[in-house]
Symmetry: C2
Subunit: 485 residues, 2 copies
């Protein structure tokens, strides 16, 4: 680990909200072309619904009310795909999203509400329309940009036949950059710098493990931190991320290893394996079914990485790349609630994939990218209030953010853990079984007739000596706390 | 004609220099990719030589010394073709040219020298890499930009097979905009406005006759003039341009009808018909061989258009689209000199295609786009000095710019014409025959023992009564003037 590994304190304290820009909200102020899909129609691989950044701006009050402190946007740069991972221009905000002007408005309004903005950087590959690749496509061997990509022959067969260039996952639409070319490297570093100078608060890096050029992400980190030492760098590493979290590359990663355990443990026998699909292979040992293994894995995960990284992880239940949690667990809200309870009481920044808080469902991509229903009659209001409570609790308790971690007990599908930071002490209890359970936990910090407060309903819970006894309904959990918080 | 048709006075007085940006000059300050062609190697259809805008900036002294007051650049926007007529991004200066920064430097330095900048606007078609077209290519029927182009079916067959969309001259690389779409129209108007706001002095419009949407160019004119009433609009209309020159569309056109007469009359039996090619069909009646017809056509041409347009024409010997004049006339410098003499004494702004002044040759595109040789040992210095003299003479004589036009005599391959503006009186004499000729011309303005000054060599020429007698060597000409200029 790098001796002076520091991660931004605001990330330790952050509650992220992940937005897929085409699907969150649509403003009447952004002029749109004609052929958009209905907002509520099932998502398709190529169709656009027309969400935009002024739409997001118009709903910042909703996010602020929910308690969100940071937004991670999947890509917003000019791109000929609805998810915008096929970057056409790294220096432009997509015109469908409202362009640069809408983005600057969003940034200003978000910052005014102390909501930070993290953008998605797709630096492994570009797209067929990206200027330097299009240049080779148009000019062939005589393009001076030949060295920007990894070309094997001509014609390139970009739109028909077998492509004669390296592309990500053999997808011809995604030609892989030649990162060994210093001009490519410089270009990407300039993109990194440019948007930070425009005021963003960090980068989420797409498939960064694909970039194997020595020193690449180290240089990226130093560029980013030179513009803003408090900027956040998180990587999409869906497996053991140790190589990237030693202090010289990323601050955190999208902590999918935690996600797998949440899916598996709370999904239990209801987990939809067809929706899990290939994700299982990224960390099979995290797919655990019993409380003991769950406790072990989510503890082990914290010890895998240096503490500054653990505190700056981007923890998530799901994302635009997975089925939604609720669908993965076959619609069982109680499982979602339990998983959220862990998410919001675990070290690292919890991230809500847009709409999870109101009970949105969705299978594999593209179904997990439905339009957010702004008709509140379609919301699960109890669920939303529950998420809001969890956020408030997390924000009120430093123990939940930067506190220590101790498994108190794990057996028979129930679990208790404690988190402590200075005077702040929190106990989390979970019953992941179909039976009502009487939990009995020894709290070695206690010795007399003390009480803990149930943070979800305000009730006081007595501790007898140092024994906490608590009755939990099937598939339920709670948070107890001592102290002034 | 529009009642209040005015054209920019600076254009009447201008001497244009046309630059093909990839081929004029290359600055060490603009970082280049690796695969550039040798500067002096014969041009190829797809290769790049790496000229750039800082290269132009570094040679503004050369242009200023020559007497240039305006530069017309063939396209400079981001494009995957060496001529940059395949626009990839209308809001970006091509990175190979040094990007926006180099352009701003050029603009500032040019303006400091009172040299104006006119850019090339390609608004009939875009390119396959242009965002909204690429969007359709990538997203197919589900692209919201379907109405931006004229799509007939899918797949588009953009890179293979017969294209299923309208494109210019059936070239799949050049998809034609759907100008009937108000969003396309708005987009193009925004481009027009944007670059004027950036400080350019006018637009040269590429194949504007292809855009048949009613009111399109009228709207463009009003957008342009609203930003800068003195901005120049010239169109590439290689034939009779009356419909566009009535005061509500363009200020002038690239006056190819004059060009044809210059090629034909001065080329005479040496004119290389294979290099003329299809150009002849655009105005066959302008391809004249004798002095009487030449006098008639170049006079008729002035009467074709309203005077403000005549004074704002962009007159030219050749361009990036034609063979070079010198090659068209089989290398005969005397023909080039005579044509230049007419060019610089004719109403409308003379335009020098880069390098004509030092004797560059070149056949049809791409051969007419060679790299400018900065090694002065390769220059025809006499020719350059001759061009410089003609420029100085034109700039010193308002008669040559805004003066009247009178053919004094035309017979036996020789020609005399007079131009007059207030006190300024200029007579041009040309002998386009292989014999020495004694010209005798009646100057009805004169009546006594007066003299005219030979502006090319300073000699005084006596007029006897009102008869001017002058001996001209084979294929030569001169300019005489009375008055204080």
């Amino acid at each position: 680990m790098s001796a002076n590994f520091q991660t931004p304190k605001w990330v330790h304290d952050a509650v992220f909200y992940q937005i897929f820009p085409d699907r969150f909200a649509k403003s009447a102020l952004v002029e749109k072309p004609t052929h958009l899909e209905d907002w509520d129609a099932p998502p398709t691989p190529y169709g656009f619904k027309g969400g935009d950044l002024l739409g997001v701006t118009e709903h910042l009050d909703y996010l602020q009310d929910l308690g969100i402190t940071a937004i991670y946007f999947t890509p917003i740069f000019q791109s000929a795909s609805n998810h915008r991972y096929h970057t056409h221009d790294y220096f432009k905000v997509d015109p469908l999203l409202g362009g640069e002007k809408a983005f600057q408005t969003l940034l200003k309004e978000a910052h005014r509400r102390n909501i930070r903005i993290v953008l998605d950087g797709v630096f492994n590959h570009a797209s067929r329309g990206f200027f330097q690749f299009n240049h080779i496509l148009e000019c062939g061997k005589q393009s001076p940009y030949l060295d920007w990509f990894k070309i094997h022959g001509f014609p390139l067969n970009a739109y028909e036949g077998k492509p004669r260039y390296e592309c990500w996952w053999s997808i011809p639409a995604l030609p892989t950059f030649n990162h060994a070319n210093p001009q490519v490297r410089k270009f990407i570093m300039e993109v990194g710098r440019y948007w930070l100078e425009q005021g963003i608060d960090g980068w989420r890096l797409d498939v960064p493990f694909e970039v194997k050029e020595p020193g690449f992400w180290e240089e990226f980190r130093s560029v980013v931190k030179s513009v803003n030492p408090e900027a956040y760098i998180t990587g999409e590493i869906p497996w053991d991320a140790r190589p990237w979290l030693q202090g010289n590359q990323f601050d955190g990663v999208m902590n999918y290893l935690l996600t797998y355990s949440l899916w598996s443990f709370f999904g239990g026998e209801h987990l939809q394996e067809d929706l899990v699909g290939h994700w299982r292979s990224h960390g099979p040992e995290y797919f655990v079914k019993d409380a003991e293994s769950f406790a072990q894995q989510i503890t082990l995960l914290q010890n895998l990485y240096p503490l500054p990284a653990v505190q700056a992880q981007m923890n998530l239940l799901d994302s635009h790349d997975t089925a939604r949690f609720l669908s993965l667990v076959n619609g069982r809200k109680e499982a979602l609630r339990l998983a959220a309870l862990v998410l919001f009481t675990y070290p690292g920044a919890p991230t809500i994939y847009y709409g999870d808080e109101i009970g949105m469902e969705g299978g594999k991509d593209p179904d997990c990218r439905r339009g957010f229903p702004w008709d509140t009659s379609r919301w699960d209001m109890d669920l939303r209030n529950y998420f809001k409570s969890l956020i408030m609790i997390r924000k009120s308790h430093p123990a939940l953010r930067d506190g220590s971690w101790e498994i108190l007990k794990a057996e028979n599908q129930w679990l208790a853990y404690a988190r402590k930071h200075e005077n702040d002490y929190v106990v989390v209890l979970l019953n992941n079984s179909p039976q009502t359970n009487f939990l009995e936990v020894t709290l070695k910090e206690f010795s007399g007739e003390e009480s803990l407060k149930n943070l979800l309903n305000g009730e006081m819970v007595k501790i007898e000596g140092n024994i906490l006894r608590y009755k939990l309904a099937p598939y339920s959990g709670t948070i107890l706390s001592q102290g002034q918080y």
